[in-house]
C-alpha cells in the first residue's frame, strides 16, 4: 500500500553556503544512516534518499520541492535549514499534502502563524532557545537586556520571543540594534551595547554573525563588563570561536553529542561517516526519519494523513528524543539542554566543546500549543 512502490525522502538543505555545516551534506548522511538502520525498506518498499541544494534561497528551495512532489514522487522532505526556505517549502508541501520534516530551521512559525497539518518540527525552535537561555539568566538577577539582532525574520523572531520571556520574568529590554545579515564588523554595535548599561547583551543571530559579534564584544572589552548570551549557537559555530572568547558562554541546545553513552555511540558512527561530530540538526534529522519510517510501517501506508496520525500516536524515543512526544500542531516536544562552552584548558580536543549544565524538560522549553494549530482529528 505504498505509492509508487517506494518511500522517497528528499533532503533539502544548504549544501555549500553558510549553513552547510549545520545541516547540509551532514543531513544527507544522517538520513542515509536512518534508512540503513531501518533496513533499507519499509513495508517491502525500498527507501530512497534524494537531496538538493537550496542555496539558501526561498525560490530555489520551493522550486525544488515543487519538482520533487509533482514530478518525482517524493513522499516527505527532510533537512530544511533556513527559515525562509523552510517557509516556502512547507507551503508547497502542504498544498501537495506531503510531510515537511523540519530539522534545523529555528522559527516557531511552522507550528504557530503558518502551522500546517503536514509540518513536523523536530529539533528546537526560537521559543525553546529563549526559554532555555534567557529565563535562567533573568531569574539570576540579570534584568537589563540589550539585543544585537540579525535584521531578518529569524533574528526578529528570536528577539521577540526572548523579549517576551524577559518581560514576563520581570526584566526589561534597554536597547536593540538590528544589524544587517552578514555584517563583518560589529564593533559599532558593541559600543552601543556598552553604552546602554545593560546586564546582558543577547546575540539574536546565528552562524558567522554570532562568531563575529562575539569576537568584537571580547575585543572591545564588553565581555569583561557584562554577560554575553548567544541565543542560537550550534556546535560548529562554537568550535569556530576563539576559545578564550567563548569560554563560559551559556546556550541552549537540542542535542549534545557527548551527553551520554547513547548519544556518543550514534555520534561516533556519524563522525566516522561524515568526518565531523554531529550538530543538533543532524541528530534531529536522523531521529525524525526513524520515527517517520516507524509510523509508515505502523500505518501500513505512506498516505500522509495516516502517517501523520501515527507519528502523533507513537512516542518517539531514541538517543535524541528524550521524554518526547509529537504534539498535534506538529511540534515535537522533548528535553532540551542548558550548557556552557568549555574553556580551552578543559577541552580534550576541539570536539569537546560543551558542558551540559542542566536538562530543560520539554514542556518548559517549548511554548504551549495554539488552539488554531491543533490538527488532531
Amino acid at each position: 500500500n505504498v505509492s509508487d512502490d517506494k518511500i522517497k525522502i528528499g533532503v533539502l538543505a544548504d549544501m555549500g553556503g553558510v549553513y552547510s555545516d549545520l545541516c547540509g551534506p551532514g543531513c544527507v548522511t544522517a538520513l542515509e544512516m536512518a534508512a540503513e538502520d531501518f533496513g533499507g525498506e519499509v513495508l517491502g518498499a525500498p527507501i530512497e534518499i534524494v537531496s538538493a541544494d537550496d542555496q539558501l534561497k526561498a525560490d530555489v528551495g520551493s522550486a525544488i520541492v515543487r519538482k520533487w512532489v509533482e514530478d518525482e514522487q517524493v513522499d516527505a522532505v527532510g533537512g530544511l535549514v533556513s527559515s525562509a526556505v523552510t517557509g516556502a517549502a512547507t507551503k508547497v508541501l502542504t498544498d501537495a499534502k506531503k510531510i515537511a520534516m523540519i530539522s534545523t530551521a529555528a522559527s516557531n512559525a511552522f507550528t504557530t502563524a503558518s502551522c500546517s497539518p503536514y509540518n513536523v518540527h523536530w529539533t528546537y525552535n526560537v521559543a525553546a532557545l529563549a526559554n532555555g537561555t534567557v529565563k535562567p539568566m533573568v531569574d539570576s538577577g540579570k534584568k537589563k537586556w540589550f539585543f544585537i539582532t540579525a535584521d531578518y525574520a529569524f533574528g526578529h523572531a528570536l528577539e521577540s520571543v526572548a523579549t517576551e520571556v524577559i518581560e514576563n520574568n520581570g526584566g526589561e529590554v534597554v536597547g536593540v540594534v538590528r544589524a544587517p545579515l552578514a555584517t563583518t564588523d560589529f564593533s559599532s554595535y558593541v559600543l552601543q551595547a556598552q553604552a546602554s548599561g545593560a546586564d546582558v547583551v543577547a546575540l539574536a543571530n546565528a552562524g558567522a554573525d554570532t562568531v563575529n559579534s562575539l569576537k568584537a564584544a571580547t575585543e572591545f572589552g564588553l565581555t569583561e563588563m557584562v554577560d554575553v548570551a548567544g541565543l542560537l549557537v550550534f556546535t560548529p559555530a562554537a568550535q569556530a570561536m576563539d576559545p578564550d572568547t567563548a569560554a563560559g558562554m551559556r546556550l541552549t541546545t537540542g542535542f549534545y553529542w557527548d551527553y551520554d553513552d547513547e548519544t556518543r555511540a550514534w555520534s561516533n558512527r556519524f563522525k566516522e561517516r561524515h568526518g565531523s561530530i554531529p550538530a543538533m540538526g543532524h541528530a534531529g534529522a536522523y531521529s525524525m526519519a526513524m520515527h517517520y519510517f516507524r509510523a509508515v510501517e505502523a500505518a501500513g501506508t505512506d498516505d500522509s494523513d495516516a502517517v501523520m496520525a501515527k507519528m502523533r500516536e507513537l512516542k518517539p524515543d531514541d538517543f535524541f528524543a528524550r521524554n518526547a512526544y509529537l504534539r498535534a500542531d506538529g511540534r515535537m516536544v522533548h528535553d532540551m539542554y542548558y550548557a556552557e562552552i568549555k574553556p580551552a584548558d578543559q577541552r580534550r580536543d576541539n570536539d569537546d566543546i560543551l558542558n551540559v549544565l542542566s536538562v530543560i524538560p520539554g514542556d518548559q522549553a517549548f511554548a504551549p500549543m495554539l488552539p488554531e494549530c491543533n490538527f488532531a482529528d
Binding site: S51, K57, E70, D71
Partner: protein, 308 residues
C-alpha cells in the same frame, strides 16, 4: 521579423517540450530567457551594461504577487500592472542612469538597485527574506485555471513569445535603427539632432518593463516572490546568461538562460550540490577562455566554418 524555418522548428519544440520535461522547469527557463532578452536589448543593442536589472525583475514579481494576494485581480491584469510598475521604476532609474556611460552607468544602476533591495528588505508587504509566499495563480481572464502546470506553461510561453517578438521588433524598428547609430557613434548621432539620452531612456524603460514582465510571470509560476530576485547576484546572473548565450544575438540570451538554469538545476540536485560553486566557476572560466562568442556565437562560427 520574418518567420524562418528555425523559428518554426523552435516553436514546435517549445510546444511539445512540456510533454517530455517538467513544465514548471521549462516555464522557469522561459521566464529567465525573457529576462535575459530584455537585458540584452540594452547591452547588446544600446551598449549599456545595466548591473541592476534585478530591481525590475523583483518589482514585477512583488507587485504582481501582492495584487494577486490582496487585490483579487485576474492574473493577466496583475501581470500587466506588475510590468507597468517595473516600467515606471525603469523610467525613474533610467532618467538618472542614462546620463552616465560605461562603467559609471553600470555602477549607477547597481547602486539604485541596491536601494530598491533595501526597500524590499524592509517593507512589510514583501515578507522580508521569507519572501511573499503562496501567491495564487488565479484564473486567466477569469476563465482558465492556471493551477495546472501545463496550462501555466503555455501561458508563460505566450508571454515569452510576446516579449521576444517585441524585443526583436524594437531592434528592427526605426527606433532600433537610431539606437544602433547611437551605439556606433554617439557624438555623431547628437550632431544629427538626436537627443541620445531620450533614446537610451526609452530603451531602458522597455527593457525594464520586459524584465518586470519576466518577474511578474515568474512569481505566478512559482507562487513566490523573494529577495533573490532583487539581489545583485541576480543582476550578475543575467549578465552571465547573456554572455554565455552570446551578447547581441537574438537567440543568445534564450540559450544562455536555458543553459544556466539547466546547469543550476542539475548541479543543485544530489551529489554535486557540494561542488556547485566550483563547477559553475570552472564553467565560466572555460567559457571565457575558449568560447567567448557565447553559445550562439560559437555555433555561428561552427556553421560558417563547415558550411560557409
Amino acid at each position: 521579423m520574418k518567420l524562418s524555418k528555425l523559428h518554426i522548428a523552435l516553436l514546435l519544440v517549445a510546444l511539445v517540450a512540456p510533454f517530455v520535461l517538467y513544465p514548471v522547469f521549462l516555464a522557469k527557463i522561459l521566464c529567465f530567457a525573457l529576462f535575459a532578452c530584455a537585458f540584452n536589448l540594452l547591452l547588446g543593442y544600446v551598449g549599456l551594461l545595466s548591473f541592476g536589472h534585478a530591481a525590475f525583475l523583483g518589482t514585477g514579481g512583488y507587485i504582481t504577487g501582492w495584487l494577486m494576494m490582496n487585490a483579487n485581480l485576474t492574473p493577466e491584469l496583475a501581470i500587466l500592472l506588475g510590468t507597468a510598475a517595473a516600467g515606471l521604476l525603469g523610467a525613474l532609474y533610467g532618467k538618472l542612469a542614462v546620463k552616465r556611460e560605461g562603467i559609471y552607468f553600470a555602477m549607477v544602476t547597481l547602486a539604485l538597485a541596491q536601494l530598491i533591495f533595501f526597500v524590499y528588505l524592509q517593507a512589510p508587504f514583501t515578507g522580508g527574506e521569507d519572501g511573499m509566499q503562496g501567491i495564487p495563480r488565479g484564473e486567466l481572464f477569469g476563465l482558465i485555471d492556471l493551477s495546472d502546470n501545463l496550462t501555466m506553461y503555455y501561458f508563460v510561453l505566450a508571454v515569452f513569445l510576446f516579449g521576444f517578438w517585441l524585443i526583436n521588433r524594437t531592434i528592427h524598428s526605426p527606433f532600433g535603427q537610431v539606437l544602433k547609430a547611437i551605439r556606433e557613434n554617439e557624438p555623431r548621432a547628437v550632431s544629427l539632432g538626436y537627443n541620445v539620452n531620450d533614446y537610451k531612456w526609452v530603451a531602458f524603460m522597455i527593457s525594464a518593463a520586459l524584465a518586470g514582465l519576466a518577474g511578474a510571470t515568474k512569481s505566478l509560476v512559482f507562487q513566490l516572490a523573494s529577495l533573490t530576485d532583487v539581489h545583485w547576484h541576480m543582476s550578475g546572473e543575467v549578465v552571465l546568461m547573456t554572455l554565455v548565450g552570446g551578447v547581441g544575438t537574438v537567440f543568445g540570451p534564450l540559450l544562455g538562460a536555458g543553459a544556466i538554469v539547466t546547469m543550476q538545476n542539475y548541479l543543485s540536485g544530489g551529489e554535486l550540490g557540494n561542488y556547485i560553486h566550483i563547477i559553475m566557476g570552472a564553467i565560466f572560466v572555460i567559457c571565457v577562455l575558449a568560447f567567448r562568442g557565447g553559445l550562439v556565437g560559437e555555433l555561428q562560427k561552427l556553421v560558417k566554418r563547415n558550411f560557409g
